[in-house]
């Protein structure tokens, strides 16, 4: 089934997009940079941070600001990514984000690139590193499939939490949430054979780590082994650290000595 192509105009240039693409998809496919924060190629578009704001107008699209990551392209759509109002709006968005998370180094460095080094917002409000981008929540729910954390509360009280804020029984300790977090709000700490997943002062989960069957180095949680390796045939879920696996591979490689000559 052929994918229908659509013509849209981005910053005055006529480009080809595919039906079903978002403005962000079309822009990236045609080499145009639009900044994002809560967007991840593997996770569903969320539109939480609004950093990807652009101006769009066209058939079925009232002229105005919109998030490029969640707005579908349509025939005759015209998009401005760097017009004055887009730039102004984007700066305010960064200021708002900084108002919540003034201590985030990564946010500061992205904001600086767009000319934002300070913010009039958030004085006296509660600051933390979480920009409420939802990457952790989406990764855990959509891809890991356990939904150990999710958004809670509304408005200023919106936060990311476990069920009832207690130690999660669903978490498998993979650390994907920490890996996708842009500011380091969620961290994984491994020490003394134990893994702790922390979100500021909320402990999301705590696990003993299984150790490498060969050298006893702490490696991975049992729940991770149970859930993440399901797709593999039996006998392939072994607990071996990288070094020991490599040593084993080297030993078998000996059989290949001089094979090619």
């Amino acid at each position: 089934m052929a994918i229908k192509t659509i013509s849209v105009r981005i910053d005055g240039e006529l480009v080809t997009a595919r039906e079903g693409d978002t403005i962000l998809d079309a822009a990236r496919a045609n080499g145009k940079q639009i900044p994002t924060l809560c967007h991840h190629e593997a996770l569903g578009a969320y539109g939480a941070c609004r950093v990807c704001v652009v101006w769009a107008e066209g058939q079925g699209q009232r002229p105005g600001l919109t998030a490029a990551c969640t707005t579908p392209v349509s025939n005759g759509l015209a998009v401005q990514t760097e017009s004055a109002i887009v730039q102004r709006t984007r700066r305010v968005i960064f200021e708002l984000l900084l108002g919540r998370s003034p201590e985030s180094e990564s946010l500061r460095s992205i904001a600086k690139r767009y000319g934002v080094t300070s913010t009039p917002f958030g004085e006296g409000a509660q600051h933390d590193l979480c920009v409420r981008c939802g990457l952790c929540v989406r990764a855990c729910k959509e891809k890991i499939g356990v939904a150990a954390i999710s958004f809670s509360g509304r408005g200023q009280g919106r936060n990311v939490s476990t069920e009832f804020g207690a130690l999660s029984e669903l978490c498998i300790g993979c650390g994907a949430c920490a890996a996708v977090c842009p500011t380091g709000m969620i961290r994984v700490k491994d020490s003394g054979g134990e893994r702790v997943i922390l979100r500021d002062d909320l402990t999301i989960a705590r696990f003993p780590l299984l150790t490498c069957t060969s050298c006893r180095a702490p490696l991975v949680t049992e729940k991770f082994m149970d859930l993440r390796l399901q797709g593999l045939p039996d006998g392939q879920s072994e607990v071996l650290c990288l070094d020991c696996k490599r040593k084993r591979m080297a030993a078998t490689a000996e059989r290949f000595a001089n094979i090619w000559s």
Binding site: L37, A42, E105, K143, G175, V180, C244, R246, M249, A253
Partner: protein, 187 residues
């Protein structure tokens, strides 16, 4: 059949020239100036056990367990290899645990503003041998190894090696006679 980079332990002297070449081939042009142990992540790693020295690297498995367990489609079987789409990685490390050989790692990478959507401070990505597809002259490790111990193996090379082994087996068999071949019960 997937093609793969593989080293001959009979020739390896464990010098690690290949590791440096690999890191430089996967870094920006000025990488030599910024190289440090913290950022040194070659995709092939020299292993020295008591009896063998050899670099180990991704075997581009036909049934790649890393691709099977990846929840985001970061690892795909394509172009006769297991390819990585780094922008899809969410850092769950399922691939690291699933890999039989320990040759894929999930590592933080300092994304440069030029080549990365501004979505993360430190993006993580799955890192493994990519056959240096981006290099005109092919794998950097093969180029620099002073022993010429590393080579690319594909279906043709493997078939040739198998053919040589069959020939050799036939010669052995001819020398000993069919009834005395090792492992063959005499009738």
């Amino acid at each position: 059949m997937n093609k793969l980079v593989i080293a001959d332990p009979g020739k390896c002297i464990g010098c690690r020239t290949c590791e440096i070449a690999c890191v430089l081939a996967h870094s920006a042009a000025d990488a030599m100036v910024r190289m440090s142990p913290a950022s040194f992540h070659p995709r092939l790693m020299v292993v020295k056990t008591t009896t063998v020295s050899t670099p180990v690297q991704c075997r581009q498995c036909e049934d790649a367990p890393c691709a099977v367990v990846c929840p985001t489609g970061t690892l795909v079987l394509r172009n006769n290899s297991v390819e990585v789409i780094p922008s899809r990685c969410i850092g769950c490390k399922s691939c690291m645990i699933a890999c039989r050989f320990g040759v894929i790692e999930v590592l933080p990478c300092e994304a440069t503003l030029a080549d990365w959507p501004l979505s993360s401070r430190m993006h993580v990505e799955a890192v493994k041998c990519d056959l240096c597809e981006h290099r005109a002259s092919g794998p950097a490790c093969i180029e620099v190894c002073p022993m010429k111990a590393i080579s690319i193996v594909d279906a043709i090379v493997l078939a040739e090696a198998a053919r040589k082994r069959r020939e050799h087996a036939a010669m052995v068999q001819a020398a000993f006679g069919p009834g005395d071949s090792p492992g063959q019960a005499s009738t």
